[in-house]
């Protein structure tokens, strides 16, 4: 059963372990209301958290590896392309006076897409 009434030193060490092991969300979820209040009011915790980040970075940041940088580059490029597309489509919508032909306004209702009647041959 998890400890639900941890002291500051225990929470700091748990935070350090979570940071080291890459599971900060699990640490954040484990905090009870009282523990969260204790953290908020403790200067020691905040001071120590900064040093924990330093130790973690010196100990582990170099060990973080990326197997394939070119794969990452293509991911970024795809993201940029999608943003570019989004910007272009937004500009188009802004400039167009009438809504596209596939949309028509229902009486008293929002814009709705019309049903396609053309059947495949």
């Amino acid at each position: 059963m998890p400890d639900t009434n941890r002291q500051i030193q225990e929470m700091l060490v748990d935070f350090a372990d979570a940071l080291r092991d890459g599971c900060i969300p699990a640490f954040l979820k484990s905090l009870t209301r009282e523990e969260a209040q204790r953290i908020a009011s403790s200067d020691e915790f905040w001071n120590a958290a900064q040093v924990v980040r330093v130790i973690n970075s010196v100990g582990f940041a170099d060990k973080a590896v990326t197997p394939n940088l070119s794969l990452f580059l293509s991911r970024v490029d795809a993201k940029i392309a999608s943003r570019l597309k989004k910007t272009k489509s937004l500009t188009k919508v802004k400039h167009s006076v009438y809504p596209p032909s596939c949309f028509r306004k229902k009486a008293g209702g929002p814009l709705a897409k019309t049903e396609r009647n053309d059947k495949s041959v």
Partner: protein, 190 residues
């Protein structure tokens, strides 16, 4: 600053979208390692680092204005952290904050704080300083931190130091506070 990085930065701040896009690749190649290390300080998780970094680079491409007057690598890291990374880091955790007891401000301070020692010092400098400070600690304190840095659990550290897990947690906490005071002294001396 490296010539390739400087050229890439120039390309990034160009008003032409396609030129900016072409400048992204050399920029990413030159900065990826450093940026990833910075994010790793806060997340401790490689996959999350990459996901956030993807958004950070796209943000930089979309709005490179803040990088216009950057002339050194240190300045670049600081600017990117302040204007691009911090926002993304906070977004990641804001989404889960509905189920947490921490206030929004405490959460932000914990996962994406303001500029600290990390963003001011280079990795090499940090390693050098930490090594010096660790040497000034008592044997038992140094051993606990070194074992932690090797990735050992608190139980394993307690076994090594022949003590209890609770005592190890207390020892680590006190040692970290001691290191914090030493860091402050070092920064003031500097």
């Amino acid at each position: 600053m490296d010539r390739r990085l400087r050229n890439a930065l120039q390309g990034l701040t160009d008003p032409d979208i396609e030129r900016r896009r072409r400048a992204m690749e050399p920029f990413e190649r030159a900065t990826f390692d450093n940026f990833k290390k910075i994010l790793y300080h806060h997340l401790g998780n490689e996959t999350e680092c990459e996901d956030i970094l993807e958004d950070v680079y796209a943000d930089i491409w979309e709005n490179p204005e803040h990088l216009r007057n950057v002339y050194s690598e240190k300045q670049l890291i600081r600017t990117v952290y302040l204007y691009y990374m911090r926002k993304r880091l906070r977004e990641v955790y804001r989404r889960m904050n509905r189920h947490l007891h921490l206030s929004q401000k405490d959460l932000s301070d914990l996962v994406a704080p303001d500029l600290g020692i990390l963003e001011v010092m280079s990795q090499l400098e940090l390693r050098h300083v930490l090594r010096r400070l660790l040497n000034r600690l008592k044997n038992r304190e140094r051993r606990a931190i070194e074992l932690w840095m090797q990735g050992l659990s608190n139980r394993a550290i307690a076994n090594d130091l022949k003590t209890t897990v609770g005592a190890v947690k207390m020892l680590e906490f006190r040692t970290i506070l001691k290191l914090r005071a030493m860091f402050c002294d070092y920064c003031n001396e500097d």
